[in-house]
């Protein structure tokens, strides 16, 4: 089974600040990690390989330093990795990202399943998975919490919905996005760490993917970020005072006055 896992390298913390002068996010001094939900995608890919045999290829579109994330993926069980990296890819929105990833997956050749995390920590969109499926022209299932069965050309999964879960069968190849409930990611093995150190990670550019530079990165993106700002968190609260019992009484009467109970 050929398994592809899409990863993004993201800042290790969401507690970032906006530079009020430049209106951009201050990234200096912030460590980078594999997007947490993507590590569940990777783990599921490795488990699938252990179950069915085959190969796990980790791919990432990002700046040169995203290679670190791919080496980490190899230490965690990926067999191969490809970095999709070109200045022309910078500033891509989800459409341009999915378009570029689809071209890279096309270049990788035959595949059975593409696994992505539900969403990233930084952009928080959750759109690349479904858009990638559409551009590849294959089945898509979001919010997968369990892979129940894999048969040739067929996959049965649990998908979380607001009201519970659904059991869905899909034709392969397919793209799925996973939620954290799906597994507990492993730690890197010593053997994996050694492999990660020496693995060759090819870098594919727009030219190598045969992509028109006008259709990738910022110029291939339909959306524009016109402003970023830190939300104001105004302290509007009142900490109730006095005996505990009195506080509880006071709370109940405030809630009654507000008409919420």
């Amino acid at each position: 089974m050929n398994i592809i896992v899409c990863l993004k390298q993201v800042p290790a913390t969401t507690e970032v600040k906006v530079d009020p002068q430049t209106n951009t996010i201050i990234r200096e001094g912030i460590k980078s990690i594999i997007n947490p939900l993507d590590s569940y995608a990777l783990e599921e890919g490795v488990r699938l390989k252990e179950r069915c045999g085959g190969k796990v290829t980790a791919i990432s579109m990002g700046p040169p330093q995203a290679e670190e994330a791919l080496r980490e993926a190899i230490s965690l069980g990926a067999d191969e990795a490809v970095l999709i990296c070109d200045k022309a890819f910078a500033g891509a929105d989800t459409w341009a990202t999915a378009y570029t990833l689809a071209a890279a997956i096309g270049k990788l050749g035959q595949y059975d399943i593409v696994i992505c995390g539900r969403q990233t920590l930084d952009g928080d969109t959750g759109q690349v998975g479904p858009q990638l499926a559409e551009m590849l022209g294959v089945a898509f299932i979001a919010y997968v919490s369990k892979i129940e069965e894999v048969a040739p050309q067929r996959l049965r999964v649990r998908r979380m919905v607001e009201e519970g879960y659904e059991v869905i069968e899909a034709a392969l190849p397919a793209v799925i996005t996973v939620v954290k409930e799906i597994n507990v990611p492993r730690l890197p093995s010593l053997r994996g760490l050694a492999r990660a150190k020496s693995a060759a990670i090819p870098v594919w550019t727009a030219g190598e993917l045969g992509l028109d530079p006008k259709l990738v990165g910022l110029s291939g993106s339909f959306t524009r970020v016109i402003k970023v700002f830190s939300p104001q968190r105004t302290c509007r609260g009142e900490v109730l005072q006095g005996e505990l019992e009195g506080q509880v009484e006071c709370l109940v009467s405030r809630l009654k006055d507000a008409g919420v109970i």
């Binding site: 459409w95 551009m135 059991v167 939300p231």
Partner: protein
Amino acid sequence: MEGESYRGIWVFAEQRQGKLKDVAYELLAKGRELASALKTEISAVCLGYGIDEVDKLIAHGADKVYLVDSPELADSQEDLYTHELVKLIREHKPEIVLAGATAFGRAVIPRVAAILKTGLTADCTGLDIDADKRLLLQTKPAFGGNVMAVITCPAGRPQMATVRPRVFKKNPPDGTRKGEIVKVDFDREGVTSRTRLLQFVEDITERIRIEEADIIVAGGRGLGDGKNFDMLWELASVLGAAVAASRPAVDEGWVPYSHQVGQTGKTVCPKLYIAVGISGAVQHLVGMQTSDIIVAINDDPNAPIFEVATYGIVGDLFKVVPMLIDKLKNR
């Protein structure tokens, strides 16, 4: 510019098993404001089978409802919905399409935008109009809510956004509003569904859905043990509330994941959110901080939850919650 042939606002009115979701009414309320800023009309588009009370979409603000009601759409097969939405949008050319950022909306709408080759902004919490340029100004949280971004789609049409449920308030229904229901035949030609629904298993622990609840009682690490959640279930039943939890409580296995509020769980916006034994890490706050009234009960006066709380009680939750249950029973 090509955009000039695109006019009007569309709301994707999502339903489940024939019942319309509240987010459709919320989007119609906001959509009406946007439509009047653009001096245009607003339509709802509703796909499904045996959909109840379609006229409520008109009472809540739609000028027109495009209704595709077919047994083939009963199981919410996403390939079919994607195909039909693309077809309708290409035919009628709305300039803006809004949908709920639900599990279904966040799976289907990105695919629609991918096919239409246009921009889509995920999980918006604010929408506004630049009337001169006829642009939708879309505000969305990023970095787990620590940063807000304003996004536009200058060239692609329609401009598309998914919007978090409960961010906007629905208007009271007005039964005297007039509108038109346009029935559209479902055309399956040229589309095959690559997925099939085999089974739906309802989460029975979630007696009231946290996304739809007016009141939520949420517990965190401070509860100390799964069985202590019984106290919260009792408080919830007195209030007619749903029970939610922070990530640590879910990770401990005290409550199923479907109850988790926060960055890696659900976003809620009830009228009243009672946080019990939750310290208020930013990852939790982003999932609930837009609630109308927030009550925090925690024994640590420095817990960040008190920064967003409307009312705070600093004290032992094992004393406060039983007192609260008692007072509410006797109210």
